[in-house]
């Protein structure tokens, strides 16, 4: 099985989620090759899990004030702040048959590729079920998966730098004001690549690429015209719509 690897791209939130879904639909139809893609978010964005409430999780007014997008993912899990300068996102779209039919096992396998990439930077990370990757017990990567018609879409984010203040300006934290104590408590639970490795984001990306592609037959490629057309339709009609984003 030959993988298609799409090099790091930068898109807005709606197109990023549209591309993931367009490739997934293509894979379900047997048209899209198993794909690994890396991307960043411009402008920065908050994504919430499929079952979360946008208004409860996200301070919409603050997002608008700061020019930060907000979007509901197709995957479950929690709210994530995707800082343009602080993280790299990946997605893997492939038939379950080449990863694993078992959901928990497939999380472990794909998260293993992230862990392999981090290890190349000397970072000793480990998988923390259900969907986290931790270093010294602190979360460095969150991951989320959906499945449909024998196809897996798993995407996840690897934290390069932490901007806790902006994170908690746009994410609602139950009744608490942003305090030094709260920031300290987050720093005790969350970490980032910058705390462990002397590398820039390009260096992190190169190592993640190595971790994801090791032992695989692959070629670099990009989205097909058909995938991009579909992604743009999804970005416009679904992912930027209030009916999707404020569904809950």
């Amino acid at each position: 099985m030959r993988w298609r690897v799409i090099r790091l791209e930068v898109h807005d939130a709606y197109l990023n989620m549209g591309i993931d879904q367009a490739i997934m639909e293509g894979a379900e139809a047997g048209k899209s090759a198993p794909t690994i893609r890396f991307y960043k978010w411009m402008p920065s964005a908050v994504s919430i899990g499929r079952f979360q409430s946008m208004r409860e999780e996200v301070d919409i007014e603050k997002c608008m004030e700061l020019g930060i997008s907000y979007i509901r993912r197709v995957t479950g899990g929690g709210a994530v702040y995707h800082s343009n300068s602080g993280e790299i996102t990946y997605s893997v779209i492939a038939p379950t048959s080449i990863i694993s039919k078992d959901i928990r096992e497939s999380y472990r396998i794909v998260c293993g590729w992230v862990i392999d990439g981090l290890s190349k930077l000397g970072i000793n990370a480990s998988f923390a079920p259900i969907n986290d990757i931790v270093v010294d017990g602190k979360k460095i990567s969150g991951n989320a998966q959906t499945r449909s018609k024998g196809t897996i879409l798993q995407h996840g984010t690897i934290l390069y730098d932490l901007d806790i203040k902006t994170m908690f300006t746009v994410l609602r934290v139950s009744g608490e004001k942003i305090s030094d104590k709260m920031i300290k408590s987050v720093e005790e639970r969350v970490t980032c690549v910058k705390n462990y490795a002397d590398t820039d984001q390009e260096g992190l990306y190169e190592k993640l690429l190595e971790g994801f592609t090791a032992g695989k037959e692959f070629e670099f490629g990009s989205c097909t015209e058909e995938e991009m057309k579909r992604a743009e339709v999804l970005a416009k009609s679904v992912y930027s719509s209030d009916s999707w984003n404020f569904d809950r």
Binding site: G49, R50, F51, Q52, S53, E56, V74, T75, G76, G77, G78, A79, I103, R104, I130, N131, A144, Q145, T146, R147, S148, R248
Partner: protein
């Protein structure tokens, strides 16, 4: 008819967060289950929510868990980070407040 609004939040030990929002009188009129959990296939959360409509609010936690369990089994749903028991507990918390 006037309905009461209920809300509860429960963090499953070692798992994820569940929130339940509902409107009720003697029975549940509408319900939303929210949180950062995983549920496969995602669209089947509606089946769980629909199975709880018109349920008497004094139904025991065990019975509510059983109803959710049956939907999970019949619809081949996989829950990750939450359980039928935790959903039932959160529902009872939401109507007991």
């Amino acid at each position: 008819m006037l309905f009461l609004k209920g809300f509860a939040r429960f963090k499953v030990p070692g798992g994820k967060l569940i929130e339940v929002k509902l409107n009720y009188s003697n029975s549940i009129q509408s319900i939303q289950i929210l949180g950062d959990f995983f549920l496969y296939p995602e669209a089947s959360l509606k089946d769980i929510e629909n199975s709880l409509l018109n349920l008497k609010v004094n139904e025991s936690e065990e019975n509510i868990a059983r109803i959710v369990s049956n939907v999970v089994k019949n619809k081949s749903i996989t829950l990750m980070g939450i359980t039928p028991e935790a959903i039932a507990k959160t529902i009872k918390m939401a109507v007991d407040k």
